[in-house]
Amino acid sequence: MTNQPAKTETPAGQRVLSDAIVAEIKAYFPRYPTLQAVTLPALHVVNAHLRHVPLQAVVEIAELLELAPAQIQDTLSFYGFFKQDAPHGETRAWVCRSVSCALRGGEEIFAYMCQKAGIEPGQTTDDGKLTLEFGECLGACEFAPCMLAGDTLHKNLTEESAGKFLQSPTG
Amino acid sequence: MLEPLIKIAVLLGGLMTAAAYFVLLERWIAAWVQDRLGPNRVGVPLTRIRLFGLGQPMADGGKFILKEEFMPAHVDKRLFLLAPISILAAALAVFAVIPFGSVLPASVYTLFGQDAATVASTEGPVPLVVAPGVDVGLLYVFALSSIAVYGVIVGGWASNNKYSFLGGLRSSAQLISYELPLGLAILSVVLASGSMNLDEIVHRQADSGVWFIFTQPLGFVVFVIAAFAEAARLPFDLPECEQELIGGYHTEYTGMKLLLFLVAEFLHMITAAFLIVLLFLGGWHIWGLAGPDEQVTWVGAVGRLIVLHLKVTGVIVFFMVVRWSWPRFRFDQLMALAWKVMLPLGMINLVAVAIFEELSLALQSQLGGWTLAISLLGSWLVCLGAWFGVAYATPMIGDNRVRKDIHTYEVDPQI
């Protein structure tokens, strides 16, 4: 019924943010009026490097930004983009399920891809190459059904093109 | 010498037993009126015989005797003891002049008729009254029943308790007020019968065969109501009224002393019932049982005894039923009734009786048998007329708010 949180000291050896990441975050400091404003860029930096933002990373970002971890987590948890439990695959693909894509078989394509990759929606393949997720409107309704993989937009998906993508998933 | 002692013993024993059983009767009637069964479980002690609860008075008496004789610390001890004694003594002493039967034949042989020996003997029949031949019997009754109020006032005073004292004060005011209509009603009976001897009064009714209730209906009504008030029975039980005064003057009493008060109250009721029967309901008389005392047979004497006591019991039952029929008066209503209704009615009755007595003497020779009929008719007309008139004319003020137009003294709001 109750889960009493225990205050844990962060062991210095288990820090997850490398000096490079920290430096990259610090590079944003001059660009914003307050440190708090760096929250989102920092999260993006961490996510880009670690492919997720673990709780420990949140604590460390908070230290950097002179905030409480809860304040970072507050912002972070609003965005479904940031995963916290495990890193997403090398390629992260969002299949659109909004109206246009859904009407043109987006959900069927997505189901097909999941079945083909052998994962559930939202999961990562065993080899860590690909994460498949639902996405809301990608703003490319004229190419429905479409999918965003990394920064690449895959248009007019068919089972065939999807299968091709699954063989070499790249962003 | 022996005769009065025997009579006193019989009277005392009978009265005490009667009071005890009237308590049972009262409880029964109270229960029945409320659709309950009433006391029905106490019978023969240590057995399962219940006898409809006839053992209840014994149990009640035992309880009263065994109760702690508690005397509160704040009472005036001598007066506190004196009050119940005086009230019971006064209540019992009244019965010295009240005939509790007619007479008993002088000889044990006069079972069905006279025999020569009895007629010849000098001893007359035995009158069933402790003090026979008291010519001021009614006056005596009056005097002693007035003493009863001392018991109440002294009891209330000695209790040193505001409720008790209020009860005592109410009692004195009430008894004094209602003695006036009571006296007026009795006066008219005395006027009609020409005697204050209770035995004479009964004889007067028995001889003529016309009870005073028929010739003086207004007097009867006034007397009965005043008698209720004098006996402090509901709806006139303001000296006690449990709901307001928690028992009034006997609030502080327990055990035997309380018992004395309660017995005295029942004796008052019995006295009142006797007076009603003797003065207005013909006493022992019922048609067929009349005749001079000297000619009374044993059958006649016992019959008269039974008739008298049936009448008395009937009146007492009436007393008890009335208790549940009417709510208690408010004190101002009680006083209004005494002074504004009862007193005028009593006066009208007295005057009317005097006129009828005078007229019937005067007209007896001319009208003969019609005199009685005219007298009866007239008295009933007077009764109804007076009643209507007084009811119509009496100012009834139910509004007791402070009247602005009358100067009132400033009252401390803290009180």
Partner: protein, 566 residues
């Protein structure tokens, strides 16, 4: 003067006042319901309960133009000519809709909710909600998780007003609380490994308008409607927070802060909030005792005046004869130690009593318990290191009576030089090993040593000790008098900011204990029962330092330096 119209009623506000719609409406006697707005926190306008119609009255033409949409009253500043309408059909509908929306996801487990009876959701629903229910809601049990040592969260009862989150960020400054998964699934939570444990954490429970946050100390111990509220002053430190003691049948159940803009605003610290437990400690001294020939004899309170008279004057008098006043033929040297836990009134009465016997009696200030350093929070709330409520009051009284303040240490030195014949030592200190609610031992080294050994210099005197708990002093005393805790007394404390606050007793002392005020009152043969108000009037009349304390003391206290050149 700016004039604001509330439901057609004209309200004047000062030119430099910054008030919002809710505050202005409150001045007009109109209550605008609200969840998320709190005068001590920033405005977020998220609950939408305070929606009102607003508009502007043209200064010249007097024409009123209204905004078409409803606006949150908490976020709308009142300026000259601003018009608020809080009782229109539109506003009522909006409130009913908000209430309905909140209740759709509410567990409605009021029977087991500690907030029931003081819950805004209940009150507002009763007042502004729909009379009938349109959704098919069945009561369910709220999920629950602990946020820290002191506070638990009933997740589903929350209405997401975020008052608690803002409190930890703006007032206590530790920002432990957050809203996770903002949006349809938002919840209050702490970051894993960073529980809510600041020294003001209990305040979030008071802030919570519904039953979402529960005080673990108070949880399920009493239903709120059984408790009686008494205004009082916290004795935990020299800040002297205005508090409200909630008790039922002489048993305290919780303390809550009372709004006082001059002292504690709306808050109080956990140390004070949970620091009342010693009041109901079984180890409290409960019976007066007297040492005769080395053995303790129980002392009856009715004999106390005679016994104390004998102890102070050195001459015996039978208890039947009332002790003659001002009789001290042997010219004994007396001293009284006035504890900083005494109220001003009690200290004054005791000083007066001692000086009846020896007009030169030495008056000293009792030991000042210290713990750590003053601790300030971002909004100015301070927890003081001085763990006593009335040091300033006793000091001011002492300097008024004797010209200077003799500290406990100096007093002990003086006693060591020339021992006193009789010393009256008052205490009232919480137990030495008491904790501040967070489990930390706050007893200083000096306190610990006092608990075990008697200071030199006092051993040869007749000792009259009045205290709450057993100590070395208490054990060495010749006369032991039990003392009353702060919630059992009436009187006034002067806090570190020279603000005098008066309070009345909240609970009765345990059987056998007579409060200080009552005892001194009786010793001085005053008529009737102890009346702190009358004593304070005397003090204010006699001593210029307390002049400001005459008359009625407002609930928020009175600044004693008011109108004084310092």
């Amino acid at each position: 003067m700016a004039i604001v119209l509330i439901d057609g009623q004209e309200i004047e506000i000062g030119d430099d006042e910054r008030l919002n719609g809710i505050q202005v409406a409150a001045r007009a006697g109109v209550e605008v319901p609200h969840y998320c707005w709190h005068p001590g926190l920033s405005v977020v306008a998220s609950c939408r309960m305070c929606l009102v119609e607003t508009g502007k009255r043209d200064a010249d033409s007097g024409e009123i133009s209204m905004l078409p949409k409803l606006v949150p009253g908490c976020q709308t500043p009142a300026r000259d000519g601003t018009v608020f309408v809080t009782d229109s059909e539109k506003v009522r509908q909006a409130r009913a809709m908000v209430e309905e929306d909140l209740l759709i996801r509410h567990p409605v487990d009021c029977p087991i909710c500690d907030k029931a009876g003081e819950c805004h959701l209940q009150d507002y629903h009763f007042e502004h909600g729909r009379p009938e229910r349109r959704a098919d809601i069945k009561p369910f049990h709220s999920r629950r998780r602990e946020l820290g040592e002191t506070v638990t969260l009933f997740v589903d009862r929350c209405v997401m007003c975020t008052r608690c989150v803002r409190f930890t960020r703006e007032v206590s400054g530790d920002a432990e609380l957050m809203v996770v998964h903002r949006g349809a699934h938002e919840e209050i939570d702490v970051f894993p490994g960073f529980p809510l444990e600041n020294k003001l954490s209990g305040n979030v429970v008071d802030l919570c308008p519904v039953g979402a946050l529960g005080d673990l100390d108070f949880l399920y111990s009493q239903r709120v409607w059984f408790m009686k509220q008494h205004a009082s002053v916290c004795a935990g430190c020299s800040t002297g927070c205005s508090i409200q003691v909630e008790e039922n049948q002489d048993r305290i159940h919780r303390l809550k802060p009372r709004e006082n803009p001059h002292v504690n605003q709306w808050w109080m610290c956990d140390e004070g909030r949970y620091g009342w437990k010693y009041v109901h400690d079984n180890a409290r001294c409960l019976a007066p005792q007297q040492k005769t020939e080395g053995a303790w004899q129980p002392l009856d309170w009715s004999d106390a005046p005679a016994v104390l008279h004998a102890a102070l004057s050195g001459e015996n008098c039978s208890p039947e004869n009332s002790p003659p006043k001002n009789s001290n033929p042997k010219k004994r040297r007396l001293a009284a130690v006035l504890s900083p836990f005494l109220t001003v009134e009690e200290a004054y009465l005791l000083a007066t009593y001692i000086r009846q016997y020896d007009e030169n009696a030495v008056l000293a200030l009792g030991r000042i318990p210290q713990a750590g350093a003053d601790e300030s929070f971002p909004n100015g709330f301070t927890i003081r290191a001085e763990k006593c409520p009335n040091r300033r009051g006793v000091e001011m009284l002492l300097s008024a009576l004797t010209g200077d303040v003799l500290s406990w240490e100096s007093f002990l030195e003086q006693a060591a030089e020339t021992p006193f014949d009789a010393v009256w030592i008052t205490g009232g200190y919480p137990p030495v090993n008491g904790n501040d609610g967070a489990g930390e031992d706050v007893a200083s080294e000096e306190e610990k040593s006092l608990a075990t050994e008697l200071p030199a210099g006092l051993a040869s005197s007749t000792l009259i000790v009045q205290d709450l708990f057993d100590s070395a002093l208490w054990r060495q005393a010749d006369i032991q008098l039990p003392s009353a805790a702060f919630v059992e007394r009436s009187g006034s404390f002067v806090n570190a900011g020279n603000r005098l606050q008066s309070f009345e007793w909240a609970i009765r002392p345990p059987a056998g204990v007579m409060t200080e005020g009552q005892l001194y009152w009786r010793l001085l043969d005053r008529d009737g029962l102890y009346n702190a108000r009358r004593v304070l009037e005397d003090v204010a009349r006699e001593h210029i330092a307390f002049a400001a304390a005459s008359g009625e003391i407002p609930a928020t206290g009175r600044d004693l330096l008011l109108n004084q050149l310092v």
